[in-house]
């Protein structure tokens, strides 16, 4: 199963009605690589992640995960999703379940782990991210940063080969952003393969092996963060980064 890149997108197209959001995306993510997607809102970053997770069906092209074409006919989407973790901007924890149950639900029901094993794994992860004392709390008793960390732990509990992070800090108060970014940095250090859509430019610069600039459904340019942030080739990239600097976000 572990042949070739962790993720390969070939000429991926996606439209919502008349509106073509992805206009032929080609992208490769190697194992243990961290790739950040930057670009204005509506440039297609979130849609791209949702297509990789098969939340949205694509209209044309191929998505290949570890050598397996997941967009082919008859592929069991549930089996694919278990290998790919996704974390959303709005956490989407299950409000009627404790933190522990939020994390163990999918391992127990989708992977058929027994309860003791699933809970042990969950507690280990919670402990690692400093959340063990919250295991019996309900999500509405946690801060936004804590909720988002729990959402990351929930995705990790499935032992994904690839993590997709969709603007995971956008809904957080500024003082809570750091604790979530620290968790992601920790994952990067451990070699988790990640595709991250983000507005946090300094974070992208810090963590990414490669940065892709999306504009109107195309990847306009990509490369190592140092080059993209200091010497972007494309005028649109320069314009975008210029506005970010103006806004004091880089």
């Amino acid at each position: 199963m572990n042949e070739g890149p962790a993720l390969l997108l070939e000429n991926v197209h996606k439209s919502f009605g008349e509106n073509e959001v992805l206009k032929g995306i080609d992208l490769t993510v190697e194992p243990h690589e961290v790739v950040c997607l930057i670009g204005a809102s509506g440039s297609g970053k979130s849609t791209l992640l949702r297509c990789v997770n098969l939340v949205e069906p694509i209209d044309a092209g191929r998505v290949v995960v570890e050598g397996e074409e997941i967009t082919a006919e008859g592929v069991d989407a549930n089996r694919i999703r278990r290998r790919i973790g996704i974390v959303y901007q709005s956490y989407n924890l299950f409000p009627h379940m404790t933190v522990l149950r939020n994390i163990t639900l999918a391992p127990r029901e989708a992977l058929k782990q027994d309860r003791a094993q699933a809970e042990e794994n969950a507690r280990k992860l919670l402990e690692r991210f400093g959340l063990l004392d919250k295991q019996y709390e309900y999500p509405d008793r946690l801060s936004g940063g804590q909720q988002q960390r729990v959402a990351i732990v929930r995705a990790l509990a499935m032992r994904p080969h690839l993590m997709l992070l969709d603007e995971v800090t956008s809904a957080l108060d500024p003082e809570l952003v750091a604790e979530v970014l620290a968790v992601i940095k920790e994952l990067a250090r451990e070699g988790m393969t990640m595709l991250i859509a983000t507005h946090e430019m300094s974070f992208a610069r810090d963590i990414a092996d490669r940065v892709c600039f999306l504009e109107a459904g195309h990847i306009l340019e990509q490369g190592p963060p140092d080059r993209i942030f200091t010497a972007p080739e494309h005028p649109r990239t320069r314009q975008f980064l210029g506005r970010i600097i103006e806004a004091g976000r880089l």
Binding site: N78, R79, Y88, N92, F94, H96, L105, A110
Partner: protein
């Protein structure tokens, strides 16, 4: 507190004065509120059934009906949301069912089931006790209402919850069972209980099939004693059993409101 007590006293005093001063008040008092008849119809006498005893049948009818309604309605609500062209006929049946049974008056369903099914002369199903046809009719009608209540609950759970469950690798069914339905049902408990209060009263209509429940027993009493106190007794019993459920519903709503407000602060 003082103002509210004063206005309450005044309000009921005015009504009492109007009733007492009305020209027929003495006859009404005797026909409806005679202590002797109230008591006799409540506990029964040598020649007449006890309304209280007959009321036990009402309680049985709605208890049994409620269980079946909760199950059947949930099935209908879930079937209505199964996607995919293969399930189109199932969805069609579910939609047609709710449309039909929300539209037809209960009393007509009672007649059609209670007199129609026995008339068919089928083995077994045509030879059930009258009260069973009554329960079947109540279940058919109320399941259509309650299915809509469930559906509203399911639709009130944000799609992102389902998306989160599915992207963790849970199947559509697992997502519904563990994530969507538990939240949906919690939200619809107050309207659900409200429908059950309606159901408790509607058990009286089962009497049209000949089952001697509280209202029927009261009717028999009034016919033989020429006194309506039995109806007052029956009404009192219905109210008595409805009030606890109504207060319980209020409490649930209040608790939910508190929780939402607390959630908004967090």
């Amino acid at each position: 507190m003082l103002v509210s007590s004063a206005s309450t006293v005044l309000f009921f005093a005015v009504i009492a004065v109007i009733v007492v001063l009305s020209p027929g008040s003495e006859i009404v008092a005797e026909r409806f509120f005679s202590p002797r008849h109230l008591w006799q119809s409540l506990i029964g006498s040598g020649t007449n059934l006890s309304v209280l005893g007959a009321f036990v049948l009402n309680v049985k009818i709605f208890t049994v009906s409620e269980v079946f309604i909760l199950i059947l309605a949930l099935v209908i609500a879930v079937v209505r949301r199964i996607p995919g062209p293969v399930f189109f006929p199932f969805r069609l049946v579910a939609v047609a069912y709710t449309d039909l049974f929300r539209g037809v008056p209960l009393i007509l369903v009672l007649y059609m089931i209670g007199f129609g099914v026995p008339g068919l002369g089928l083995p077994f199903v045509s030879y059930l006790p009258d009260v069973t046809y009554g329960v079947i009719s109540l279940v058919l009608i109320y399941s259509a209402y309650v299915a809509e209540v469930y559906r509203a609950g399911i639709e009130s759970v944000h799609e992102s919850q389902n998306a989160a469950a599915r992207s963790l690798g849970l199947t559509r069914w697992q997502s519904l069972r563990f994530v969507v339905l538990p939240q949906a049902i919690r939200r619809v408990i107050p309207p659900l209980l409200n429908d059950f209060i309606g159901l408790q009263k509607d058990t009286a209509l089962v009497s049209v099939l000949g089952s001697v429940e509280a209202v029927r027993a009261a009717q028999i009493y009034s016919a033989s004693e020429f006194n309506y106190a039995s109806y007052v007794v029956a009404a009192f019993l219905f109210v008595l059993i409805t009030i606890p459920l109504a207060r319980f519903t209020d409490r649930l709503i209040a608790r939910d409101k508190r929780r939402r407000e607390a959630g908004a602060l967090a």
